[in-house]
């Protein structure tokens, strides 16, 4: 197997391990695709419930485009920060602090995203836009909340990865894990593109 066959972000050389790493990355792709179907179905359910506001707050009331724009920027920044971490890992595996630094940038940005999102959630509860109010709000909270939970889980994962890099250094195994984490992280940004376009922007357009 030649080196080009190996997934991006990896530079494992010729001394074994590529096949295993590739199998793991492919398996993780399959998991992400299964997760994509999960998100897609929640999107579809949201689509069927857009009009089910039952007299409660609708898209106009819950959408704060400034907040959504900030969240979008933060998540995109986080995704980009992770790309830089992948590049550092690939080209400067000796300097683990470089990778860790970019991971910290990605994590901080994502943490800010979550905080802004939580402020939005809090705002919704103050205007009575709680999920118990209507089918529309149930679907909204479920969809945005599912994405938020994925981000929170990703942060936990990133914390664990940071610890592992500190303990083990950038070994082949760790590189393969960071690569998979990267797929997950960029994937969440793709889902967010769907959310800000189809849920928030389309809701008030």
């Amino acid at each position: 197997m030649s080196e080009e066959n190996v997934h991006p972000g990896m530079n494992l050389g010729y001394h074994g391990g590529e096949h295993e790493a590739e199998v793991k990355v492919f398996g993780f792709w399959a998991f992400l695709m299964s997760d994509l179907v999960t998100f897609g179905i929640v999107f579809a359910v949201f689509g069927t419930m857009v009009t089910a506001t039952a007299g409660g707050p609708g898209p106009e009331e819950v959408t704060n485009l400034h907040s959504v724009a900030i969240q979008t920027a933060l998540l995109l920044g986080s995704s980009f920060g992770f790309s830089w971490a992948s590049l550092s890992m690939k080209y400067h595996p000796g300097q683990r602090w470089r990778t860790l630094g970019w991971l910290a940038v990605a994590a901080t940005s994502a943490l800010c995203f979550l905080i802004v999102e939580l402020i939005d959630f809090h705002h919704w509860t103050t205007i009575g836009a709680v999920p118990q109010r209507s089918g529309y709000l149930s679907a909204l909270w479920a969809l945005v909340g599912l994405h938020g939970l994925h981000v929170a889980g990703g942060l936990l994962w990133m914390a664990a990865m940071t610890g592992q890099i500190l303990v083990f250094g950038l070994t082949d195994d760790i590189k393969s894990r960071v690569t998979r984490m990267g797929l997950y992280w960029h994937f969440l940004d793709v889902v967010w593109v769907g959310i800000f376009s189809m849920v928030f922007l389309a809701g008030v357009a």
Binding site: N5, F26, A30, V37, A44, H186, S197, M198, L201, A202
Partner: protein, 112 residues
């Protein structure tokens, strides 16, 4: 440092630079498309009936940018399995999402 090593290092530096440029291109494209999406709604330039298709197309474009640049999906032979998997997923998801919307909209129309 031997010549061979230096050449290798140069190639590696060059490759790193190219990859950085590629990621930056992705960032710029994403920002442009995001601004276009928000702008089309916030400025009210796009007529109401056109808003949804415009947003959908911009979102699709940005998703493709993300897949191509951040997730490294391309048409080369090595990535073909990933691409096939992705396209198959999109097909099934399309069937399920379209079916859901069709079935539920039909039911709703008949209850009016």
């Amino acid at each position: 440092m031997s010549l061979k090593e230096r050449l290798l290092l140069d190639a590696k530096n060059q490759e790193e630079k190219e990859e950085r440029r590629f990621y930056t291109l992705g960032l710029v494209l994403s920002i442009v498309l995001t601004v276009a999406s928000f702008g089309s709604v916030m400025t009210g330039l796009v007529p109401h009936s056109w808003a949804f298709p415009v947003l959908a197309i911009l979102a699709l474009a940005q998703i493709i940018v993300h897949l191509r640049i951040f997730l490294h999906i391309d048409l080369t032979r090595q990535k073909r399995e990933d691409l096939q998997l992705l396209l198959f997923t999109v097909l099934l998801l399309g069937i399920m999402a379209f079916g859901t919307l069709w079935i539920l909209a039909d039911l709703q129309a008949r209850m009016m």
